[in-house]
Point group: C2
DNA sequence: CTACGACTTCAAGTCAGCTTTAAGTCAAAC
DNA sequence: GTTTGACTTAAAGCTGACTTGAAGTCGTAG
């Protein structure tokens, strides 16, 4: 079994070498063997990275992925690991979908606003907002400009 | 008409004074009048902030909000402004909804994986991924842990 | 007069997930 | 023997939307 350099691996999984080093640094990937200080990877590393990529694609943070890899007692089957981590994610997504629906409605109605000025818009909003509690701190949700998931 | 301090305003709209200063600094809010170097706001500022908050809630970035306020010729009605900015956002959201559906499916199926080990998972993923082009650089999408939009 | 509290500015810090840069190491090609 | 190119490390930089900290400025209460 031939060993791969970090560039080989990066090319095969579609990452930059710097990303792979970063994953190692934060403990998401195990430290590979070295040949004269250079990293050498076997195929298992490739598989691990493919799994990592997939997990990133479906919305897991690197923290969560670390749990996926190392947060279970040895021998825990993948299905159980995935299931455990997916539960929380699915709940979040449900929330998110709901939020998006609300936002879509708000966006669609925003164009129908009959206010003569933005100031008037704000006056209405301020009144409606009166009873409500201020939003919790931090962004409420965010998404990147272009969503091209491409799974 | 009594003038408000920055703390008054912050309390009324549910922001911290630092956020309001920040908005002014990046040119999203106009510089208010000062009384011995301290900011003093009128009600219009309140309305503007309410509008800003609403725009943030429905997913506009501060850059976009600056456009909402200052990116149109004077006298352009709010409806037109909102409509213009909403179009792009709605398209993004449609994409996002699609992505989420794909992710939900993936998450639901992830627990059914019959692999004996994560390595085996990765082996399969790597093969499937072979034909595909590597993901474009940068995160594909992100969302915060808890979505509590609360409109 | 001085202490207090609320404000001011400017710079730096925060989060995640990397990338970039600088300076050094290494084996192989010329 | 030197040059090349791929690698190494550690540290700093990036994005967006702020917050935090330090050091200074006010008007007022005691």
């Amino acid at each position: 079994m031939p060993l791969l350099t970090i560039s080989d691996v990066a090319r095969q999984v579609g990452l930059r070498p710097s990303a792979i080093r970063y994953y190692e640094q934060i403990g998401v990937l195990p430290r590979p063997q070295r040949v004269s200080r250079r990293r050498r990877y076997d195929d298992a590393a490739l598989y691990r990275l493919a799994t990592l990529q997939r997990a990133r694609q479906i919305g897991f943070t690197l923290d969560e992925i670390r749990k996926l890899f190392f947060g279970f007692r040895n021998g825990t089957p993948p299905s159980e690991r995935w299931r455990k981590l997916s539960q929380q994610k699915l709940a979040e997504l449900e929330q998110l979908v709901h939020s998006i629906k609300v936002i879509q409605l708000a966006l669609q109605n925003s164009g129908k606003c009959g206010c003569a000025s933005l100031e008037e818009c704000g006056k209405g909003l301020l009144r409606k907002q009166c009873g409500k509690r201020a939003a919790k701190r931090g962004a409420i949700f965010r998404f990147k400009n272009s969503v091209d998931l491409n799974l």
